[in-house]
């Protein structure tokens, strides 16, 4: 082709589960430039936390992500509990860990299926999603919900594990382990998988560190980095587990890291079940959190999750800042896409396990003066105007009085 072809992947495209726009410039079938446009899913979560008390904000935070809901709420809570100077009961920490690892199990299985679908291997997709149901059933049994568990609360957890639950979890672990060993074999031996994934989406160790990649993407580039090991929280300091790394630096490595991490998660869950102490599951929390700032870190299934919380002595947080793991991984995306085939674009995008709505944080509006900053009042006016033009009047919706612009 003499002229370079520009292909838009998104905002609506079958390979994307949420809207984002990748503008791919092609030379033949090769990508020579990739431009990433995100921000279609901004929901104003951080702002809405600032007008709610710590308990209400917890439920907002839990909905940052549909998959790593427990990660975000645990990350937020450990920050708030640190500010309040409250230590959660040991049994609560065990339960939180179990939920965190169950979440990692179903997140990784989900990702494996999505990856299979992106390379046209729908059988893998159907198999892993079938197995993921086992984990979701356990989660539904433990807390009544499949994805937004609502198990966390300030000072501990809301529900205890019953002895019969423990047996069910063990049975599920055995099944998942058996099936996952099959996937490990498949990943390491299947010829078409290797043909499609090896050497695709290369991100060298240096580049991974330069672009600030996190989680399985970073570990697949050979960097031994895991918040559960680097900066342990809950009961991770005492749990024996391996940090899985792989040094092929490509999408294939990311598959291997994730399937092996499933086995590590099962190991961690078993350790928790074996060593579960008795006792309370919730500690008393003060209603008002003393003024201060805290940064808390958590290893979500997709990588390191960072929350910053600023308290001002009232029962309402002054600022909650969420740095979701996908956000850290976006920066290396354009680099990974360049030089590969168009056919590999969906799997390279999927390989960081992107979560678009976790990532979209802020919006910048250009006002008439050409300045890039717009205050809250102007944004609100713009929003009302925007929806009025579409025939919806939102100006009569009242805001909580707490917000002073």
């Amino acid at each position: 082709m003499s002229k370079n072809l520009v292909i838009p992947i998104g905002p609506q495209h079958p390979s994307l589960k949420e809207p984002a726009c990748f503008t791919i410039t092609l030379e033949g079938e090769k990508v020579i430039e990739a431009d990433i446009g995100i921000g279609y899913n901004h929901r104003g979560i951080e702002k809405s936390c600032e007008s709610r008390n710590y308990y209400q904000a917890l439920y907002i935070i839990e909905r940052v992500c549909g998959i790593c809901s427990h990660s975000h709420s645990t990350c937020y809570l450990s920050g708030v509990e640190k500010l309040a100077g409250v230590e959660i009961p040991r049994r609560a920490a065990f339960i939180r860990t179990i939920f965190g690892e169950l979440e990692r199990l179903h997140s990784h299985l989900l990702w494996l299926g999505v990856a299979g679908h992106e390379i046209g291997f729908d059988t893998l997709f159907m198999y892993t999603w079938r197995d993921r149901e086992l984990v979701l059933d356990i989660l539904a049994m433990l807390c009544g919900n499949r994805v937004n568990y609502g198990i966390n609360t300030l000072g501990g957890v809301r529900r205890d594990l019953e002895p019969q639950h423990i047996d069910d979890i063990r049975r599920m672990c055995a099944k998942i382990e058996e099936r996952n060993n099959y996937y490990v074999n498949l990943a390491l031996s299947d010829a078409t998988l290797a043909a499609r994934l090896s050497g695709v989406g290369m991100l060298s160790k240096e580049d991974a560190l330069k672009y600030g990649a996190v989680g399985p993407v970073l570990r697949a580039s050979g960097v031994k980095s895991d918040t559960r090991r680097n900066d342990p929280y809950l009961i991770y300091p005492e749990i024996p587990f391996d940090v899985i790394t792989y040094d092929s630096c490509d999408v294939f490595g990311r598959v291997v890291v994730r399937v092996l991490e499933i086995n590590e998660s099962i190991k961690i869950i078993r350790y928790c079940l074996d060593n579960m102490p008795d006792g309370d599951i919730i500690a008393k929390m003060p209603r008002k959190i003393p003024a201060g700032e805290v940064v808390s870190r958590y290893e979500a299934p997709r990588g390191e999750d960072v929350h910053f919380i600023k308290a001002n002595g009232t029962d309402i947080p002054e600022r909650v800042k969420v740095r979701a793991p996908s956000e850290a991984n976006w920066h290396s995306m354009a680099h990974m896409l360049k030089g590969d085939y168009l056919a590999d674009t969906p799997i390279i995008i999927a390989a960081i396990d992107p979560c678009y709505s976790c990532t979209d944080r802020a919006i910048t509006l250009n006002n008439a003066a050409g300045s890039k900053r717009t205050d809250w009042e102007a944004i609100r006016k713009h929003g009302i105007e925007f929806y009025r033009n579409k025939g919806v009047d939102v100006s009569r919706i009242l805001l909580p009085e707490k917000i002073n612009y």
Partner: protein
């Protein structure tokens, strides 16, 4: 009588009914391989009629005539090819020496129609799908021809009747063509644009490839063409590689169904077990391996023909 044959059996109506039936079979096998329930038997027909009822949108800048004619062309070529393939006896409806070549020629037309349909749609996805369809044509066409002509060389005839006559006289010779059969099955996956050779319509990359701009009745006709192609290719492989027939019509018909269902079963298993290859991997694979083995098969058949 001739009109009846063209319209009902082995013509249009049989082809339509059987293509729905084979699509159902293909989908249910694929579903069971994936541990799914699969569709009910009427699902392909329901899908077809639902699409017929949908609005047809023709892009503004596209030649309306060609946009509407191409699906008809593609289907007509399939039907014409089908009329020349023998189903229940050694002779097709209009047997002549060289009908094998005509069928192969007619079978190329649907792929060219897909290419043209994508090309005139003027969308980026359909354009890329069209280019990929054509690239893939160059990849699988040569091995498919080699694989189908190798048995003909051994039988010393370019007609289905001649092939059938030779192999019913020397049934053991059918075993010689097993490598060619395998090549033909793999190349047929490319012909039918099925996994692992479904790059021209890879939904996660280029939406629906050449058919992206098509909708409603026209898309229904294209889907129907793809289903009919499955029947035609399965019948063709059956006629070339399994050319034995019974004298009784009913038994022969059942035999035909078994042969085609067997071939579609193999195709469905392939589809379930593989990931999609990239277009350049497809071309490399076809030219490196399939053509190499195809050449060996032809050489082998020439030697055997000379020796016996």
């Amino acid at each position: 009588m001739e009109f009846f044959q063209m319209l009902v059996f082995p013509g249009l109506i049989f082809l339509s009914v059987y293509s729905f039936a084979l699509e159902y079979f293909d989908r249910i096998v694929y579903a069971r391989l994936q541990n799914r329930q699969g569709p009910p038997w009427y699902q392909p027909i329901a899908d077809f009629f639902k699409l017929l009822g949908k609005e047809v949108i023709v892009p503004a800048s596209v030649s309306k005539l060609w946009f509407k004619l191409l699906p008809v062309f593609a289907y007509a070529a399939n039907l014409a090819a089908f009329l020349y393939i023998p189903l229940t006896s050694a002779n097709s409806l209009y047997p002549f020496s060289g009908d094998l070549i005509v069928v192969l020629y007619l079978l190329t037309i649907p792929t060219l129609c897909f290419f043209l349909a994508g090309y005139i749609s003027e969308g980026v996805y359909s354009g890329l799908g069209a280019v990929r369809a054509l690239t893939q044509l160059f990849a699988y066409e040569v091995p498919l021809f080699m694989a189908l002509l190798a048995p003909a060389i051994l039988a010393d005839s370019w007609s289905f009747a001649g092939i059938s006559a030779y192999y019913s006289a020397h049934p053991i010779m059918m075993l010689v063509n097993i490598p060619a059969f395998i090549i033909a099955i793999i190349a047929a996956q490319g012909k039918l644009e099925r996994t692992p050779f479904d790059a021209p319509e890879a939904e996660t990359e280029i939406v629906a490839g050449a058919f992206t701009e098509y909708s409603g009745k026209l898309l229904a006709l294209f889907r129907f063409t793809v289903d009919a192609e499955l029947v035609v290719v399965a019948s063709l492989l059956a006629a070339v590689f399994l050319p034995f027939y019974a004298s009784n019509f009913i038994i022969s018909f059942i035999l035909y169904l078994l042969k085609t269902v067997f071939i579609v079963f193999i195709l469905a298993v392939f589809k379930g077990l593989m990931a999609r290859l990239r277009i350049e991997q497809i071309v490399a694979f076809c030219w490196k391996w399939l053509i190499g083995i195809g050449l060996l098969q032809i050489v082998l058949n020439v030697i055997i023909k000379g020796a016996f």
